[in-house]
Symmetry: C2
Subunit: 332 residues, 2 copies
DNA sequence: CTGTTAGCGCATTCAG
DNA sequence: CTGAATGCGCTAACAG
């Protein structure tokens, strides 16, 4: 175990209180005494016990983040960015991984509560029909939280995401303009705003063009690489002109299946994703996608959260970040 | 703020001690009383203050992990796997990101110390000639730690990694057998075991074949996508037969440059990476690489660490995980 | 300017 | 089987 403040007080020949004040450089302590304290602290490699500190100060200086899937580079980027922003505000980030399961999400949140996180950022999981008790409880406990990237419907809380309907609309419209008619959409659980809004944008594009679209062109699945791969063969039987997805890794899964089975992309079928992953542009046929500006999302999420932590009140807000259409080579 | 154990004791009409015993289901409390306590705890949404708990129990149930770069999917996977293993052992993971900088690495470690992590897993950063004071301090403080994936030379501590020399040797030998002669190696700082061993394996393959290799065929750089891209043009002037790298994202950077400049891979130049990233196999020319089994590494790292935390002594060990050569399409 | 005292939330003696 | 008292490491209020 490391040295305690008592050790350094004793060695420096001062009281614990003085040592504390010196260390946290508060006013009211002689410059020499302070130096003496700081010196012995350094000598003993002293680092304050944050647990004790949190206890007494009633704040932990810590923010929790739950993401669904670290296997998806988009969320790695998000974690990375949020970590940076959180640190820059003098807080520490706690990470939880839900693997797209409410049980895990709930466990993560409970852990954060136990660790006395001052606020939580949640990327809701894509599971269907789930019990949102743990989310409601956050509200009851007055623990500030914001949802990022997507949102649970019916939850009164701050939220940051790209305007999903718009992103979806832009992409679908583009594809329709280029002559595609039968555009499939591989989505997550419809119980998420993520999917809901995307479907809205998708349908709106069709509506505007006065073209009908099939209700069964929308597929629900867990939004990862494996499921993208698995879901594709079924879908191909219906001979789509294009397959769009709610995230890039899903699209990568689709692409992989198509490649394995020697389909011509975009010759015989177009594919588009959502997110704009870093390494996605070096594919043989760089992926057409809708960019989600991770950094902006991270920034906004943390700001909103810190605002609430700082006592900011007012109704729950949803902040939209502009999605950007990236036409590349997987669409014709 | 949530309810404290005193609240639930009062409401249940028992003493704090009884409540504590009931909650931590220790022996010596009446079954009915226990139920009563548990019920009211649930009703109040009680979750024990871990800070207080850590303080009194003198253990935090927490393990720190410092990773260099979450932008590299290999480390995302590592974080993911380690998190899983750590949780399965009843611990919680704390994450730090060093961005390949000693200062940050040091900061992360200090944070972990303050948070009273019981042990730390470190992926050493690739910075050159750095001050390892913070690492030595860990030893002095008797805080168990293990290095994963690579190691600082001269540090007496447990370590898990693939047999880097062997991986490098296998790959280089393969390339030599296929007729390549001028094989470049883009590496991180040579002050890392990561690079050192790789270079050793690389040279050994040349030696065995009785073919000379140039000392300036080994390039040092920060091992990420951008630097892979930037470093390539210089390197091409020397007309290499093949470019190998210490990780896949570096190779992806090289590939991107070659693609942008219409080089024929593997026709006119071969490229190989190291790691075997998930999405790397769906490239137009799937990347030849050496697989590092992340899961095994995660497992071993946590086990070694927990062993030390549990008081295991004995000399520092390095555990090697078998690298697997994955010949794909970027090499001829 | 410095020291003394109290108490944050909890688990653990040790009496009853 | 239960309750009152003690202290983990630290900060804040108050005296000196």
């Amino acid at each position: 175990m490391g040295a305690t403040i008592r050790d350094i007080a004793r060695l420096a020949g001062v009281s614990v209180a003085t040592a504390s004040m010196a260390i946290n450089n508060k006013a009211g302590v002689n410059a020499q005494t302070r130096e003496l304290v700081l010196d012995t602290a350094r000598k003993l490699n002293y680092s304050p016990n944050q647990n004790a500190r949190s206890l007494i100060m009633r704040k932990s200086g810590t923010i929790g983040l739950v993401v669904t899937d670290l296997t998806n580079p988009f969320f790695s980027m998000l974690v990375n960015e949020i970590n940076t922003v959180v640190l820059s505000h003098g807080y520490n980030m706690l990470l939880g991984i839900s693997n797209d399961t409410v049980e895990n999400e709930c466990r993560c949140i409970n852990t954060f509560i136990g660790q006395k996180a001052e606020g939580i950022i949640i990327v809701p999981c894509a599971q269907k029909d789930c019990d949102l008790g743990h989310i409601h409880r956050l509200g009851e406990q007055n623990l500030p939280f914001v949802m990022a990237t997507t949102a649970y419907p019916g939850i009164q809380a701050d939220c940051v995401m790209t305007d999903l309907a718009k992103g979806s609309y832009l992409l679908t419209r583009h594809l329709l303009e280029r002559g595609h008619r039968k555009i499939f959409l591989i989505s997550g659980s419809r119980s998420l705003v993520l999917s809901d809004l995307r479907i809205k944008g998708y349908k709106q594009a069709y509506l505007e063009r006065g073209i009908p679209c099939g209700e069964d062109w929308i597929i629900e699945t867990t939004p990862n690489f494996e499921h993208g791969y698995e879901v594709t063969p079924n879908l191909l039987r219906q001979r789509p002109d294009a397959i769009t997805t709610i995230n890039d890794v899903l699209a990568l899964g689709v692409l992989k299946y198509l490649k394995d089975n020697r389909y011509d992309v975009p010759g015989s079928i177009s594919v588009a994703g959502y997110d704009d992953l870093l390494y996605t542009s070096i594919l043989e046929t760089p992926l057409t996608t809708v960019r989600q500006p991770v950094q902006e999302i991270a920034l906004a999420a943390v700001e909103m959260l810190l605002n609430r932590i700082g006592g900011g009140s007012g109704p729950a807000q949803t902040q939209y970040v502009e999605p950007v259409l990236k036409i590349r080579a997987t669409t014709r």
